[in-house]
């Protein structure tokens, strides 16, 4: 009896977590795949099997390709911007002093703040008639810009807001990465009379490569799942210019109640992100190994 219990102990400890992970993460993946082959709108009593029709409809729709394009654009533009800026700022903020600590705190604050609040505040900042940005432009004698109503500008506003919110996190992670670089390397470079830029490119950048890789992975995954700022600030508009993938998923699933097509989109998003993650670990994983 005692040995039975002892053998069971670890299972009892992991059971609660595993049950919830199974119920709300893994079973839903299977359920999504199943639903993606069916037609259902919450109301009809049965959900007939329709084969690949939902996927065909999705892939034939302009909405999907627009969303893929917009989301990719968002990721490709915002991730390098975030990481590049973050590394430069972290490189300065890595030293220890009171004012550096204050600045670090200020930069980090938005990353733990409510995204809805930030989206609302920046909706005001970029609003046409009373916003902060246009007021600022006005003092230079420039005219009002319709930031969130202009299809060419709205995505840039979202990129700006997302960068503003997330950069503090990137900076904090980069600082930790920079602190792990042995001081002797910098001292040796100083003896050799290395120029600042040169030291940055030859020592700092390669040696924080593992950190960059980590941030790259999570920020790309994040970028492909951006929803809150879209939902609050633009609802995907104007004219689909900010209609990112999760926003489209929300619209199809919870506004149009097209469960089959929504699930098909969820499955595509899943394949895309897991594929990206695998691809990156193949390509960059090797490189990190070489240089670190």
């Amino acid at each position: 009896m005692m040995t039975m219990l002892r053998k069971l102990t670890p299972y009892l400890f992991v059971a609660p977590l595993m049950i919830f992970i199974a119920l709300f993460t893994y079973i839903p993946i299977l359920a999504s795949i199943n639903l993606s082959f069916r037609e259902w709108n919450f109301l009809t009593p049965d959900m007939p099997f329709v084969g690949f029709r939902n996927y065909e409809q999705l892939l034939a729709s302009r909405d999907l390709w627009n969303s893929l394009w917009v989301t990719t654009l968002f990721a490709v533009l915002s991730v390098p911007l975030r990481l590049g800026l973050a590394l430069l700022i972290a490189n300065y903020l890595v030293r220890e002093s009171m004012h550096v600590r204050l600045l670090r705190g200020a930069l980090f604050l938005p990353s733990v703040t409510s995204t809805v609040s930030i989206a609302v505040v920046f909706s005001w900042v970029f609003s046409t008639d009373y916003g902060m940005v246009n007021a600022l432009l006005g003092t230079f004698g420039l005219g009002k810009v319709q930031w969130l109503q202009n299809p060419h500008l709205a995505l840039w506003v979202l990129i700006f807001v997302n960068t503003w919110k997330q950069i503090g996190y990137d900076i904090v992670i980069y600082i930790a990465g920079l602190q792990a670089i042995p001081r002797e390397l910098y001292d040796a470079a100083a003896v050799d009379g290395g120029k600042r830029l040169h030291v940055f490119r030859r020592i700092t950048m390669p040696l924080v490569m593992p950190t960059t890789y980590f941030l790259l992975v999570i920020s790309v995954i994040e970028a492909f799942q951006v929803f809150t700022i879209v939902n609050v600030m633009t609802k995907g508009g104007p004219a689909g210019a900010t209609d990112m993938l999760v926003n489209l998923l929300y619209e199809i699933g919870f506004v149009l109640f097209d469960i089959g097509r929504g699930s098909a989109l969820a499955v595509l998003l899943f394949i895309l992100l897991v594929g990206l993650a695998i691809l990156k670990s193949r390509i960059i994983g090797r490189k990190v190994h070489y240089e670190a």
Binding site: V14, L17, F24, V100, L103, L109, V116, I173
Partner: protein, 269 residues
Amino acid sequence: MKPENPILAGLALVAGLLFLSPVLYSIWMSFQTVDAYYAGELGFTLDNYARAVGQYNFARYLLNSLIVSGLVTLIGITFATMAAYAFARYSFRGGNFLFAATVATLMIPSHISLIPNYLTLAKVGLLDSYAGLILPAISNGFAAFFLRQYIRGIPKVLDEAAYMDGATSLQVLWRIIVPLSRPAIASMALYIFITEWNNYIWPLVAVGKQDLYTLQIGLARLYRINPGEGLIDWPLVMAASTITILPVLLGFLLVERHLVRGITMGAVK
């Protein structure tokens, strides 16, 4: 630490304030009357807060957010710690597989479970309830993974000594592992709380009853029901926004260092 350069310190302060100026300005705006704000005059009023709390139900939303985030944190950290302990200290059949399944959740986009979770909770009648908000958020693979790494760093001889004295595994967890992992548990609890506090898409789909809105939903709705630009009652919206930010802001000021340490511990190892 080098002595402070006052010019640099001043510049840093200005840069920090400038960076945060939209939020700082929104807080300031929340104390203005609408008329004064649109007329560009200065004033001071608490009326926006009174309206947000009274007429617009934000006291209730605050309570809901506290209940939901509090319970998610409490249950989530308990389950994560228990699992982490087993993963760190026991080798058992299927243990590696279960641990891999836990870590893999970090790579799985959470939105794939949105529709199925909605349907599941609808089926058992838990939409529009606290349970419906809480249950899907309880399992936290990252916290379990992080705590497992941390617990592995605690010398095993401590466990063994306790077992010699006749302790049970539950006592070892509670008396030795938990006290020694306190910083890690605290930063993970904070991480779970903040994530749940700011959660948006799930309460957006899972809750229709106004009495169950969390702050995030209440704020988004308040902003969206405003008829159109120009007519928006910005001071009222900003008061609601400030109520939404404030609890996390205060927590942040109290525990910034723990939070930063927790986040970096997770990333750089």
